[in-house]
Point group: C2
Chain length 347, copies 2
């Protein structure tokens, strides 16, 4: 299906020229944000693969692309894996999947894997955005960081490519939406302070939004997720447990923002058990845009990440490098605020 | 963790002798069903690996175990994959993950994969329970069918091992529970007639339960799932769409049984949108026992499959064969009816 769509089709559907589509894809500053988002949305909808370098790869017998996932039980990655698998299947590579435990560092896991001589490339899903340069240099095969969060310094790296949304900005967007609806006491289920993954960036976005509106940060409203082998960080269980703790503290709040949809669903259950109505008593917002959020009751307000597009581009970037492309890229995609039933305006 | 638990610990926890634990594990008929279920539950809870053949494997350099999954977007498989990955990691094998599209036959996909010389074994998750013997013989590497459903003829196979629950019996169990609560008009979201996977077996279980209570089968209550590339068979979306169609037909029913939890959650959304209250107006039951079912509102009544145990045993069986064990086994595990908030007794 994706094979049949050309850049011309995208241009036609958007009512723009081919060069505009190209500019949008290359993240150039000489087109409007609105046009860029429109083009990317159409690309996402059609499943168009902008740079299908996979086809240019020499057939070199089956060799492995390793995918390392931190947080494998988060359904956010299910979609990503599904699409990556389909993209990799178009080549003669096989995909090997590796779970990174929450206490493990994914680059250390990768260093073990590269001893396997047939490993040709690595895709990191989730995990941290900050790594030792020395270790990265030791990997010796091309790699792409995907959905691991983006910090400015990270985006300057010349040794590898990355795909992300701007977690600070997107998180700020959803908190601004809550504030715009009259919420001032907004609890957040977020990563611990020392965290160096998207969890921390989303917490930064929360604080940034509060600051923009001169709302003081109340540490009582910041609920740190449990992390460890017993409970997966971005799980419904964690959202449930942490929200129970928040309720037990008796801290007042009118909105709760969880930094993943899975956490938000766990939080909704905890609120429900306490007889707290959503959104009448408390508004709840998530992050990720899982299909699931559209089926729970009430339907979940969230920040959708363009998973399909991000997964296809991740594969495309890696295959680009494997087929000799020299310039590493750091692509940052816009998220989309999806307002559903779990949030409401208050006086 | 699992390494530290011995068969003696299991025996002590169950208050039985070691030989009883052994009999329970080997599916022997000389212990009571109740004792067997208790032992298996403790094994499941402790993460004990009954026959950790992985340790006996020679270290033979990294070679692949392929896992072929039909229905990869069903969160039921997330847990299974997670545990399989952990088990395989204990060896020097690497795990490659392959999605089987809904129109593909998994054995055909496997036949392509075995051309890869370093492939040492195959685990099939999901998919069909009936395959051409000729094709299976062509595979040339050991394989295990896991959670693909069990039919008596299938269980006689001497060429490969399998792990399953008795889908007919377990499905019958949950429908019997609904009937016992006064429901006679029970809609089912099930596979199409020609289906040869668990979907069909669970439909058989439904019909069997009705027959046991002399309730005639009403074809209007049997809702066939859509199948194809557009919509994943066991998805929330499919449950939603098929329930919408059922409601549009105007057929009356007091209970709805969906053959997976994901389908049930989609069905709950469709009912909710129509203003139908669960369980006051309609009772809803699922199948699988996903963690998710414990978080949705109302909490979902379901039939839990012992995922952890099944995944660990799947790995153990395959490693057993790889380390020279000759006898193939077909292990059938009991499911567990979990009654939560989405079902109620009616007059």
């Amino acid at each position: 299906m994706a094979d049949e769509i050309t850049i011309k089709d995208i241009a036609r559907r958007c009512g723009v020229g081919v060069s505009t589509v190209s500019r949008a894809m290359n993240n150039r500053s000489d087109i409007s944000k609105k046009t860029r988002e429109k083009v990317l949305r159409v690309i996402e909808e059609t499943g168009f693969v902008p740079n299908n370098s996979a086809r240019n790869l020499k057939r070199i017998g089956s060799q492995n692309i390793a995918i390392l996932i931190k947080g494998i039980s988060n359904p956010f990655f299910t979609d990503m894996i599904n699409i990556l698998e389909a993209e990799i299947k178009k080549t003669e590579f096989v995909m090997t999947l590796h779970r990174v435990a929450s206490r493990e560092n994914e680059v250390d896991v990768a260093l073990e894997l590269v001893k396997e001589k047939r490993l040709q490339g690595i895709i990191f899903l989730g995990g941290e955005f900050s790594h030792s340069e020395e270790k990265l240099n030791m990997l010796g095969v091309p790699f792409v960081f995907s959905t691991a969060g983006a910090e400015p310094e990270f985006l300057n790296e010349k040794n590898y490519s990355s795909i992300s949304v701007d977690d600070v900005a997107e998180s700020c967007k959803i908190v601004n939406y809550l504030i715009g609806n009259g919420h001032q006491r907004i609890a957040i289920l977020a990563a611990q302070e020392e965290d160096t993954s998207v969890g921390n960036l989303r917490l930064k976005g929360y604080k940034k939004a509060l600051k923009q509106h001169d709302i003081p940060v109340d540490e009582d409203l910041i609920c740190s997720l449990h992390a460890g082998e017993e409970v997966e960080q971005f799980s419904m269980e964690n959202g449930y447990v942490v929200t129970k703790e928040l309720l037990a503290r008796g801290t007042k709040f009118t909105a709760l923002y969880a930094i993943s949809d899975t956490l938000a669903i766990g939080a909704m259950r905890a609120l429900h058990e306490q007889g707290i109505r959503i959104p009448e008593d408390v508004s709840v917002a998530g992050y990720d845009g899982l299909p699931l959020g559209d089926y729970v009751t009430p339907r979940l307000t969230t920040l959708r990440q363009p998973t399909g597009l991000m997964a296809r581009e991740t594969a495309s970037l890696l295959f680009g490098i494997l087929s000799g492309q020299k310039n590493h890229q750091h692509l940052v995609y816009p998220g989309e605020l999806i307002i559903r039933e779990s949030t409401r305006a208050i006086r």
